[in-house]
Subunit: 243 residues, 2 copies
DNA sequence: CCCTTTATAGTCACAATGACTATAAACACG
DNA sequence: CGTGTTTATAGTCATTGTGACTATAAAGGG
């Protein structure tokens, strides 16, 4: 950045964004993919994304592409918590030309198939279980894998899990998010004790509100609290590490 | 990334890297800065960095620029632990043209002034206390601030603190790193108990080796252990959060 | 009307932590 | 050549957090 300004001093690169948008659905972590229409990788699944326009920041471009390529509602896309994952810049990651891509991660509550809402290229967008996503275009398998492990860590020390839930949720639903992303079973009483003991993580919906989808005792409803980080963190069960 | 290949479909951007390289020196966190030689911001301090070349990845470019612009030894630059911080892409962040910059963070042990080693533009490089760094070029103040807080968090849940230390170090030196970066005092016995109880964080140098710079009882020497993450984390004293 | 299912309350032993006290081994300096 | 300062290291102790469980409550399904 301190090289003299000389048009020949730098190579013009294409700069794109890619998005790994996750949701928890039917007990499995899903990611939003689109089926590519043209070469290269025509017919293959890929992460949504596209070129950054001249007057856009990467984050603005990410929201625009997400709205254009998927059926997610504009209100949701505008309110979405987007987080930069990392930038992928290996030469050769796109066979056509030199492309540097800024990858983002987002979490959304479960919702209908994007195709149902129509519009744009939404008919080519699908929620796909992350474990079943194979043969992705470009280096998107690597991006997806990086995004997945980042989400797992984020659940430990941030309040991000509530982003997977609807505006009001039960502690059982919140626990299911953790169990799905971490792929472990958690003790229910201990989980609730930990969550309720963390100031600002969730707050009870006052109107003694309760609601249930099916069997069992109705659960109290909670909504996201003001906190953004978890103090202390909610560590996932020791993966081989003696605790 | 799934737009048809059409040269007019994307804007060519310049892509650069910027580096926030930290060290702990004389009880203060320092960052490596270079003084700019030409406009814009001629004479101002800036983070080292520069354009990515056609066949380079961002990380390769970061190492090359670091070696070219500073007096850090090639061996050190090659072995350095570089970590992507985030990518800065706001339009207008460079007055000359559209520049997207991939920022990296690195930590090095204390060492002589880069100028002493000569070569390249090293005479314009300096270690500057981060709290005294003002008037940085471009948006480098923002990058530096982001990097600083990232380093603070990283110390909590990774073994990165040892990267600030020489190959063999005392627990007192390691504690000084934490105290400097977090700007807090830590209880010495509790710190050593925690560090030694974390498997793989540090390992004692076997030869009953000890060494001291000045007064006091000589301290045992340790080197970095095989672990890369801290289980459980070494949380910084509650900043207003009730623990 | 029981039985299954889910939510929630509570218990208990143990591990981790924060705040201290105590001892050891060096050097400085009078 | 002690004495005191400085840094390292070994403990203690009360409190808190955690994992593993047990118990009770409130629904719906046969």
């Amino acid at each position: 950045m301190n090289t003299a300004y000389d048009p020949r001093a730098f190579e013009p690169f294409a700069v794109t964004v890619d998005l790994a948008v996750f949701t928890v659905r039917a007990g499995a972590l899903h990611v939003l993919l689109i089926r590519r229409g043209q070469e290269p990788y025509a017919g293959a699944w890929a992460l949504p994304g596209g070129f950054i326009l001249p007057r856009e920041s990467a984050e603005t471009a990410a929201r625009r592409e997400l709205a254009e390529e998927t059926g997610l509602s504009p209100a949701l896309v505008a309110a979405l918590h987007l987080e930069q994952l990392r930038t992928y810049s290996e030469p050769g990651r796109d066979p056509r030309m030199r492309v540097v891509s800024v990858a983002f991660t987002a979490l959304v509550p479960d919702m209908p198939e994007p195709a149902a809402e129509g519009g744009g290229d939404a008919d080519r967008a699908r929620w796909v279980p992350v474990d079943g996503a194979a043969g992705l275009a470009f280096d998107h398998a690597v991006i997806l894998s990086d995004a997945r492990s980042r989400v797992g860590s984020k659940l430990e020390y941030t309040c991000l899990a509530t982003a997977f839930c609807p505006p009001e949720f039960t502690l059982g639903e919140l626990q299911a998010v953790y169990e799905t992303v971490w792929d472990t079973a958690l003790d229910r009483p201990n989980f609730r004790r930990k969550v309720l003991a963390t100031p600002g993580f969730v707050e009870a919906v006052p109107g003694a509100a309760r609601l249930t989808g099916g069997r069992g005792k109705p659960a109290a409803l909670y909504r996201p609290g003001p906190a953004t980080v978890l103090h202390p963190p909610l560590l996932r069960p020791t993966e081989g590490h003696p605790r």
